[in-house]
């Protein structure tokens, strides 16, 4: 069966767009894992909570951009509070304790969302409504915008880590927590800040995703799962690897849905996860460890 060339191109665009939103979620997750060795199972629920805060703000103020900003700031503060109250006391313990703790946070957040916003889906109105002709499709400009925005947020994060004064603190703490503290870096503050940054990025992804997929209290699980696959495939704690893996997985799913249904296409991600764990457990997109 030959697949028309225009369909392949359309799926490439879709895969890249989905990949950038996923990369935004996964970079927060991988940053948190890299610095604290905490697998944050509540990460998708931070996406969900951000989306709800964004949806509420957009409904009240009518401004999408204000919704994006307020969601990010609110979740940064909330993330910092979670880190201080729940994760900081568990630092250095068995990884199982932090997995259980974040899993607990995930359940609490989901129940809170049902209680606060109810079970029905919310819609966020997209800030730009135009479309352009992509072969036989009317492709919304908003999708392109989300990809560009996600890429710029990730780019800003990269520049901050590479050149920012506190970026060096984060990178040093990620590499050697003890030595970083001995060099005068306030490691507990760095941990809290990184968790806040990760939560803010999750919130931004939630608001950006809102107009595409709607906002529901159970949307978080899907994000956690996908981001988790991406982080493992990209190499735990490796930022560049996670971004490449997010695009790789999303493209893979987009191409797979050319031949099978989109629901079946998800299987491809799991196959990629299992193959990575079997063949190259350190991650596909990291240099071979010496």
């Amino acid at each position: 069966m030959a697949i028309p060339f225009d369909q392949i191109l359309i799926q490439t665009v879709t895969g890249l767009v989905n990949g950038m939103i996923l990369a935004l979620v996964a970079s927060g997750l991988t940053l948190i894992f890299g610095i604290m060795d905490v697998v944050n199972f509540a990460h998708g629920d931070l996406v969900m909570l951000g989306a709800f805060v964004g949806a509420t703000t957009v409904a009240v103020t009518g401004s999408f951009w204000l919704g994006l900003l307020i969601a990010a700031v609110t979740l940064a503060v909330f993330g910092a509070a979670i880190q201080i109250t729940t994760l900081r006391p568990l630092l250095g313990r068995d990884p199982l304790t932090t997995i259980l703790a974040t899993f607990g946070i995930s359940l609490v957040l989901q129940k809170y969302a049902i209680w606060q916003w109810g079970p029905s889906a919310r819609q966020i109105v997209e800030p730009i409504s135009g479309q352009f002709q992509l072969f036989y499709l009317q492709y919304p400009w908003y999708r392109i915008l989300t990809a560009l925005l996600s890429a710029s947020i990730i780019g800003a994060l990269y520049l901050f880590l590479k050149f920012g004064k506190y970026g060096i603190w984060i990178r040093a703490t990620t590499q050697d927590r003890v030595m970083a503290a001995a060099m005068g870096i306030p490691v507990p503050l760095v941990h809290t800040t990184v968790f806040a940054i990760g939560a803010a990025m999750a919130a931004a992804s939630g608001v950006l995703f809102g107009p595409l997929g709607g906002v529901t209290q159970n949307m978080g699980f899907d994000f956690t799962l996908r981001a988790f696959i991406v982080v493992v495939v990209g190499g735990m704690g490796n930022l560049g690897g996670s971004i490449l893996a997010a695009i790789f997985i999303s493209l893979l799913e987009a191409y797979a849905s050319l031949v099978v249904s989109p629901a079946q296409a998800v299987i491809v991600s799991f196959v990629a996860l299992i193959l990575t764990l079997l063949i190259r457990p350190t991650g596909l997109f990291v240099p071979t460890p010496k």
Binding site: R171, Q175, V178, A180, P188
Partner: protein
């Protein structure tokens, strides 16, 4: 008195490592800490740097009790730790490694560049390699970087753990020179070394540890001629 330990007891989990260590360092003094492997020399330094918390005993720095403070607070007070395995940030460049100690509160841009110029003058090879990743340096260069990085804290004391371990002779004499220059700059050093002749030359006093406690203490000049003590505690 710059630093004083009184009857410090430290555990790793359930194993009792330090059984009551007492020692003193005056401002600007270079003091040696000798002893066989596994007697608790590195643990003593880690306890002073706040990496491990003492279970009992007093640690005072400039007259104030500091036991139990987190390492970054101790670093700000002027205690710099150069660990045995150097622990250079391997993925950071040489300059970034140095900058980890520079972004402290109250350090002006002028002070930062003056400090960098100073260590580049001490270690010209680090200036040449400032954009290279720390992990790509040779063992000797990593040792220089670890000492230079500690100097970024403008410390009052440097806890120097086996700086010459595994280095070739040319590097060993370079490290010896650096210890002398730091002494001239008025920085106190607590030096843990396996190289006994070097330690006796570089220091004014030495403590000898055995079984997690200080067993012997003497001026280095005196210890040099006391072959019986050196044989008994150090086996050389």
């Amino acid at each position: 008195m710059l630093l004083r330990l009184e009857d410090v007891q430290t555990y790793y989990g359930k194993s009792h490592i330090l059984h009551g260590v007492s020692l003193e360092v005056q401002p600007g003094e270079v003091v040696g800490l000798l002893g066989r492997n596994g007697v608790g020399k590195s643990t003593t330094l880690k306890t002073i740097a706040g990496i491990v918390r003492p279970a009992a005993g007093q640690v005072t720095f400039e007259g104030k009790p500091v036991a139990g403070l987190p390492p970054y607070r101790l670093a700000h007070l002027g205690i710099a730790w150069v660990p045995e395995d150097r622990r250079v940030f391997r993925l950071l460049t040489v300059l970034e490694n140095l900058r980890t100690g520079l972004e402290r509160p109250g350090v002006s841009e002028a002070q930062k560049s003056a400090l960098l110029d100073k260590v580049y003058a001490y270690f010209p090879v680090l200036a040449e390699r400032r954009s290279q990743a720390g992990g790509t340096l040779s063992g000797g260069e990593q040792q220089m970087l670890a000492i230079a990085r500690a100097m970024m804290l403008e410390p009052k004391i440097i806890l120097l753990d086996e700086p010459t371990e595994g280095l070739m002779p040319r590097m060993v004499s370079l490290i010896r020179d650096i210890v002398q220059r730091l002494r001239q700059d008025g920085v106190a050093i607590l030096l843990v070394e396996q190289n006994v002749p070097l330690t006796l030359d570089a220091t004014s006093r030495c403590y000898i540890m055995e079984k997690g406690a200080v067993q012997y203490h003497a001026p280095s000049a005196e210890l040099k001629n006391n072959h019986a003590v050196i044989r008994q505690y150090l086996g050389v």
